[in-house]
């Protein structure tokens, strides 16, 4: 493996970042479903209570928007290293050890699981397409086969991103450090929050005098 990737790391890195970008782009595109979902449901509530004319298929659309949103964001989340992981010990590993553990577990857990999901999802969706399945919640409900197609599609994207992550592990094993990732918005972006509240690093430094002055008095 090391031999194989020996000289091609910069080129490889480009490919990795490209796949990251694809996953991220798809994730970003589907993220906006949350705006659609919010507006759809809020409008439906308004229709029910104010206009007194609820629509029967509203619930189906709600479910589809939600299901598509989180499934299609799976690969994006993986690209951002955002899936929850028990990092109590992992955080203390050296990058090489992290990469080794990850690589082994990608092969042992990730590949069988996600391949099974994608494979099974393909037939699941195909059956739905074959009978042009529509909602069973309401009569004359909206078609469900596009929604079921989301499973294999999302599975394929996650699989692709997973393979990229495995290559990252190999590079990390070779170089001893994790290759870079594309930038994206963070949940707790300390620098941005500081800017928002007009707090500068010097201000925080200056606070030390209050802390230090207290200490001897104790």
């Amino acid at each position: 493996m090391v031999f194989f990737f020996g000289r091609r790391i910069p080129a490889m890195q480009k490919i990795l970042l490209f796949v990251d970008k694809v996953s991220t782009w798809v994730g970003h595109a589907f993220s906006f479903l949350i705006v659609a979902l919010t507006l759809h449901v809020a409008w439906e509530v308004f229709r029910r209570y104010v206009l007194d004319s609820p629509r029967a298929w509203a619930f189906d659309v709600m479910i589809m928007l939600y299901g598509t949103l989180f499934m299609m964001a799976g690969a994006y989340t993986l690209a951002r290293n955002g899936h929850v992981r028990g990092d109590i010990l992992y955080g203390y590993f050296t990058p090489r050890a992290q990469a080794a553990v990850d690589l082994v577990l990608y092969i042992v857990f990730f590949l069988p699981g996600v391949i099974a999901l994608t494979y099974a999802g393909y037939f699941f969706a195909a059956e739905s397409w074959a009978i042009k399945e529509s909602s069973n919640i309401t009569a004359e409900g909206p078609p469900y086969y596009p929604f079921k197609t989301v499973i294999p599609v999302a599975g394929a994207f996650v699989l692709m991103q997973g393979i990229v992550e495995m290559i990252r592990c190999v590079i990390c094993l070779k170089q001893g450090a994790w290759p870079s990732r594309a930038q994206d918005v963070e949940e707790v972006d300390v620098e941005k929050l500081k800017e928002e509240l007009h707090v500068k690093d010097e201000d925080i430094q200056k606070l030390d005098e209050y802390v230090v002055r207290k200490a001897p008095a104790k």
Partner: protein
């Protein structure tokens, strides 16, 4: 190679588990494919032990669960029919996944997350903190109390622990240090307050628990309301007592910190008299204007009168509720009231028209009371909607038939009147300014939270619908607050109005975009965990691990209290290595089936679990809150100081758990009143 202490400890634990698993594994039967029922159950338990080890290795948990689930489900199926095993595993996998995708409880999660990210980005936390701090300036430990309250409100609306602790670490922590507060007390207030959002509804944790345990999220929200309030008031009470007992830890604010800057018109009017209400009315009637324009005076007077209007409106609603001639819920009552029932039934007739065809058909048969009964039998949401309408329609024409107001109403009226009198007696110019500050920060947020919670708890909307409306409210908050901030930053003069407008829209777009991305990622994190655990728990059920655990637990002959304590201790211990999502999604399905054996209400258990997991956020050495605070605090504040500061609050959480154990009514009263549990 030298390993760190933590790693040694972790690895030895893992090694013990793995060795035990290898030793107990029924190897001989496993290899030739004929496992007895006993072997399968054992395999299920071994799977559970292995998953803990695998999670500790740090691989994304969703995929760990998926991989293990597929493997063990295949083992279980193979034992029945090797030829079909592969196909059955695939079917189970995709069915479980689709179950998560079409889950009508989990749908509320992205919506609440979205609302949280939007509210956080509306940037109203500094106004909120400033106004609460000024409003509470006179009570002991005011800054710490204001911090806890700000955290409670903000964390409730957003639910993002990391962001709340970081923001308050930048905002309240420096303020407290400058005011001479003890570092530990300050750190404790910020971290403990930031974690309140996990328990106080609308919290995502309760939705996840509801989805896993099959408990109605609506009831969970109603149940968590008072325990959440209790915990917040325990914190506030503790801080105030500490401030009174040892003022050195939390010196009162200096006069300069407390003073509220008065605007020009107020300064002019304040010379003539301290009370703002009389001052403004005089200015308006022309007696003592002191050069203040009538428009300003009128505007301020309207603001001044808002509390009175609010109290009056509240009393009006109470009066209507107390005397409304609607006989709710039971038909027996309908018969007893006789003549009144006639009109009520008629109104029902009108209102059923909008509900749906079956009820309307019943109406045509001319039998009124059974029709009314039919309405009650309709699905709860419809029934509530019908009652709402009935109540509204009944109120107008039947006002002459109103019931006499009960005694408690007159008591409330007296209290309301006294409150109004007291408020305006104390209503000086500073208080007017503080009230205006609160009006622009505290009340919109409180209104949003109560609108969302209220519509859920009173059955007007499902949690998902309320969350969507809440997220829409988030849009509005973002627009208003960003617009205000932009127009304040802009130089005065009408020419810049367009620039301010476009600037706001542009920022609004960015905020929506970022919030959407974060929402997608966090929902994917939670829901993919459900996808993984779907196949995993299917495998666990197939192997019969649950039966074995049940048999074992029952053989211990525990009393319900012992069982509850044991369960909570296990959950607390799991809270160290694992995140709350993992604990609830993976381990709750094991505890929930045990509850009926001990006669424990799953709703009550959920409240205890929520309190318990909140403690995990504050328990060293893995307390997330501490690390977020450390990230933004001055270098000489050590992690140990922060941990020490969190300790008393952790103690209070344990006290809260004991109170809830001792008086379960605290959590169960509201659901029982509202939903007749």
């Amino acid at each position: 190679m030298k390993l760190r202490k933590e790693l040694w400890f972790g690895f030895s634990l893992m090694a013990i588990v793995v060795v035990a698993v290898l030793a107990f594994m029924p190897w001989a039967n496993l290899l030739d494919g004929h496992l007895s029922k006993q072997d399968l159950g054992l395999l299920g338990l071994l799977m559970l032990a292995l998953i803990v080890v695998a999670i500790m290795l740090g691989f994304p948990t969703a995929f760990t669960l998926m991989g293990m689930g597929v493997f063990f489900a295949w083992l279980a199926y193979r034992n029945v029919d090797p030829a079909l095993a592969g196909q059955q595993v695939f079917d189970a996998m995709v069915q479980r996944t689709y179950g998560v995708m079409s889950n009508d409880v989990l749908i509320a999660i992205p919506l609440f997350l979205f609302m949280g990210y939007l509210v956080e980005r509306a940037q109203l936390i500094d106004r909120l903190f400033r106004s609460l701090h000024l409003a509470l300036a006179r009570i002991p430990g005011s800054l710490a109390v204001a911090t806890i309250l700000t955290c409670a409100i903000f964390a409730t609306a957003t639910g993002i622990v990391g962001a709340v602790v970081t923001l308050m670490g930048l905002l309240a922590f420096p303020a407290m240090l400058k005011a001479g507060y003890n570092v530990k007390v300050a750190a404790g207030a910020v971290t403990a307050g930031g974690c309140l959002g996990i328990l106080i509804p609308p919290s995502v944790l309760l939705i996840v628990y509801g989805a896993v345990a099959g408990v109605s999220v609506v009831q969970l929200y109603a149940g968590a309301f008072f325990p959440g309030l209790m915990l917040a008031s325990l914190y506030v009470g503790y801080v105030m007592l500490l401030a009174m007992w040892r003022p050195a830890l939390m010196p009162p604010l200096a006069e300069s910190e407390r003073r509220v800057p008065l605007p020009l018109f107020a300064q002019a009017l304040a010379v003539r008299g301290g009370n703002a209400l009389t001052g403004l009315s005089r200015a308006l009637t022309g007696g003592g204007g002191a050069g203040v324009s009538k428009r300003t005076a009128l505007g301020q007077l309207i603001v001044t009168l808002l509390p009175a209007l609010a109290i009056a409106a509240l009393l009006g609603v109470m009066y209507r509720a107390a005397t409304a001639p609607v006989v709710e819920d039971n038909v027996a009552g309908l018969v007893q009231v006789g003549g009144l029932a006639e009109s009520a039934a008629e109104e029902r007739e009108q209102s059923t028209g909008v509900i749906g065809a079956p009820e309307a058909e019943e109406e045509e048969s001319g039998v009124k009371e059974p029709a009314a009964e039919k309405v009650e039998e309709a699905s709860p949401a419809e029934a509530t909607a019908a009652e709402e309408k009935t109540a509204e329609k009944a109120a107008a024409p039947a006002s002459q038939e109103r019931l006499p107001a009960p005694v408690w109403f007159w008591v409330m009226l007296a209290i309301g009147a006294t409150a109004i009198a007291l408020i305006y007696w104390l209503w000086n110019w500073e208080r007017l300014e503080v009230f205006k500050l609160l009006l622009s920060s505290f009340f919109p947020l409180a209104l949003l939270i109560f609108a969302v919670l209220g519509s859920i708890v009173f059955g007007l909307a499902t949690p998902a619908e309320a969350a969507a409306v809440g997220a829409f409210g988030g849009f509005v908050l973002v627009l208003i607050y960003r617009f205000i901030a932009k127009s304040r930053a802009a130089p005065p003069g009408g020419r810049f109005a367009g620039a301010v407008f476009w600037g706001t829209l542009k920022e609004f777009g960015t905020i929506i975009k970022e919030s959407s991305f974060l929402t997608a990622r966090t929902s994917a994190m939670v829901c993919w965990l459900f996808v993984g655990s779907g196949i995993f728990s299917a495998a666990f059920a197939l192997l019969g691990g649950q039966e074995l655990i049940e048999k074992w637990v029952l053989s211990l002959n525990m009393t319900p209290v012992q069982f509850l304590i044991l369960a909570q201790v296990i959950i607390f211990l799991l809270g160290w290595p694992l995140e709350w999502t993992e604990i609830i999604i993976i381990f709750m399905p094991i505890f929930i089936p045990l509850l009926p054996h001990f006669g424990v209400d799953p709703l009550f258990f959920g409240l205890l679990v929520a309190l318990n997991l909140q403690t995990a956020f504050l328990s060293p050495p893995v307390a997330m809150a501490a690390f977020y605070l450390k990230g933004v605090s001055p270098p000489h504040v050590t992690l140990n100081q922060i941990f020490a500061g969190m300790m008393p609050f952790m103690g209070l959480q344990v006290v809260a758990m004991f109170i809830l154990y001792a008086w379960p009514q605290l959590g169960l009263w509201l659901p029982s009143v509202l939903y007749g549990r």
